[in-house]
């Protein structure tokens, strides 16, 4: 009897792990982007190595790309270094024959949004990318984790990675979610429960009806933030929701020759056997989860929006509250908001754009609040515009931008000013993440939009009708 993680891991071992060496693990899909790949290609060049499997590699540009263009449609780079980095990715990928989604592609986007959209991410795969939020793809029942640039070089050259097998942890949620509670709230509640180091050394499997009832977008939101609990990866067993999402996508097994359903039959085996044991099991009651917001400078410092901020028990937490300019005994509700960011690989999919537009519809962004909405990919942008979401968002007084990572990492020029409070749908609220001195509050797209309207941190329920 095996867990889902064990099944996938075992079928990808090229050379077994021993005390003296880690396992050599075969990688099915390697996603690359401009920030963590240039130095890896340099190593390849120095050693006169080739990319072993360009057909298992997929490239895009997202981190350094601006979300504004000039009137001629030219991207407005923050500086020459960013422009060079993008150009370097494009030329490296072209030189090695890698499928690349640059400015001219309808599939360009945040790497963890566009990979699934293309159907390149499939159940049972091993997937890596030089980016910690690669854990997103675990939503498809895959082992997916972030790697460093040296390892990007390893995978480019050998399609393999050296790794020791992590332990497994089940996160089991029972009960139903309350009205207005979103996948983002679920994962923030999980991280608050187990802590930012709670998943260190483990692969997480999210189990229970709450997850099987979620769409793929919500599952990706959950798996995306596994890394914020310290886990390299988190996964959810694939089911009909997964298979139907993939059907007909460009890189998915083709339906034309009747292949797809045959492949699906194989994918159905990808589940934890009854009676298989995990190294650790965490059980939580889903019905207790409320709309969440972070109040400190790491994602584990999260609580229901109207809950009292706890008294710090250590210096680090006390410093975090100082940085956030909040005090124990207060709540995050009603803290004044300067900026709102909806986007990122956590909440930059069509469902997230809909959620934000739904709240903004017929309302106005409060005076003094600047809100930007950044679709996760060109596809998300096109689909949202086809539904008229952009018009709703713009009518409410928010900005509708070009796809990219944007204010999630603030390396493309999109950032907040020192001291500004940002309600953000991204995944990290570290000091300075959204600009030096900027204060980040992580929340769902619904909460972000509601806070933009109210001008203070609030859940949708807090808006009244």
């Amino acid at each position: 009897m095996k867990t889902l993680f064990d099944k996938i891991w075992d079928s990808h071992v090229v050379t077994a792990e021993r005390a003296a060496n880690p396992a050599t693990l075969y990688i099915d899909l390697h996603l690359i982007h401009e920030v963590t790949s240039p130095q890896a290609f340099t190593v390849l060049r120095e050693r006169e190595l080739k990319v072993r499997r360009p057909d298992r590699t997929l490239a895009t540009i997202d981190h350094s790309t601006p979300t504004l263009k000039d009137p001629d449609g030219e991207p407005l780079y923050v500086n020459e270094q960013a422009r060079t980095q993008v150009a370097t990715l494009l030329s490296n990928a072209a030189e090695h024959g890698i499928e690349t989604h640059g400015w001219d592609s309808a599939h360009r986007g945040v790497v963890h949004v566009m990979g699934p959209e293309l159907g390149a991410v499939q159940p049972g795969m091993t997937i890596v990318c030089g980016d910690s939020h690669t854990s997103t793809h675990g939503a498809f029942g895959a082992i997916a984790f972030g790697i460093g640039t040296t390892q990007v070089g390893h995978v480019l050259a050998t399609q393999c990675l050296l790794m020791r097998k992590p332990k497994t942890m089940a996160i089991e949620l029972s009960g139903e979610l309350a009205e207005g509670v979103t996948p983002k709230d679920v994962i923030l509640a999980i991280i608050a429960e187990i802590g930012i180091g709670g998943g260190t050394g483990y692969a997480l499997e999210y189990r229970g009806d709450v997850f099987t009832q979620m769409g793929m977008s919500g599952r990706m939101t959950v798996c995306n933030m596994s890394i914020e609990a310290g886990a390299r990866c988190g996964l959810i067993a694939p089911d009909d929701t997964t298979f139907e999402y993939l059907r007909g996508r460009p890189h998915a097994p083709s339906d034309d020759n009747g292949d797809f359903d045959a492949v699906v039959e194989g994918w159905r085996e990808l589940r934890t056997d009854d009676g298989a044991t995990f190294d650790k099991v965490v059980r939580m009651d889903a019905s207790k989860i409320r709309p969440m917001a972070t109040y400190g400078t790491h994602p584990g410092m999260a609580a229901p929006i109207d809950a009292i901020i706890p008294t710090s028990t250590n210096d680090a937490d006390a410093k975090a509250l100082d940085y956030m300019q909040v005090k124990a005994g207060q709540t995050m509700a009603n803290q004044t908001v300067n900026r709102v960011f909806v986007g990122s690989c956590t909440n930059g999919r069509l469902e997230d754009m809909r959620a934000a537009a739904n709240v903004l519809s017929g309302r106005q962004v409060a005076k003094g609040v600047r809100m930007i909405v950044v679709p996760g990919s060109e596809m998300v942008k096109a689909e949202a515009e086809a539904e008229g979401l952009d018009a709703i968002i713009i009518a409410a007084g928010a900005e509708w931008r070009e796809p990219g990572c944007s204010m999630c990492i603030a390396m493309n020029g999109d950032k907040a000013a020192p001291g500004e409070l940002v309600v953000s749908t991204s995944n990290r609220n570290f000091a300075g993440r959204q600009g030096p001195g900027a204060r980040t509050v992580l929340a769902s797209p619904e909460t972000a939009a509601a806070s933009a309207v109210a001008g203070v941190v609030t859940s949708v329920a807090g808006l009244g009708s």
Partner: protein, 194 residues
Amino acid sequence: MSNAPLTTLTSRTVVLPAENIDTDQIIPARFLSVTSRDGLGPHAFNDWRWNEDGSPTDHLLNTPEAQASKILVGGHNFGCGSSREHAPWALTDYGFRVVISSEIADIFRSNAVKNGLLPIVIDKGAHRWLLDHPGADVTVDLKNREVRLPGNGGTYTFDVDDFSRHCLIEGVDELGYLDGQAGAIAAYEEARTK
């Protein structure tokens, strides 16, 4: 690329006691748009060390003593957050060869080893001692997996897996090792396509 071999070294420590020092602090994202591995040392802990106008702060890391140090002692859960390898590049370019803490984040640890930076997770008591004695002359002995504290500080062993230890001591890297398995990799691919 291979790294300089690391066997035994003695150095005074630089102590950064804050808990949860994340890789955004070690190297802020705006320095990630480089296309080379070198030259990040001046930006290690950039926002702690430089004012907005580019003038240096009076942070410890700007002192000559710190800049001569090879051993960084960080607070609990060092290196959490983003997987950016720029973090160990910045630290090694600054001059560190060893990072010691009571807990070090997974990805940072694996990135560090690959770049000739030895991450040591040490006993809580020894960690406390190190935090309480900034600038102490500490010996790290990778062959014997030992950290030796001066005076009556004591000697502590640490875990490092054989493979990482081998790579660090020899200064070899993993790509050579993996490339040596080309036959097994081809056989695996072949078996899977059947």
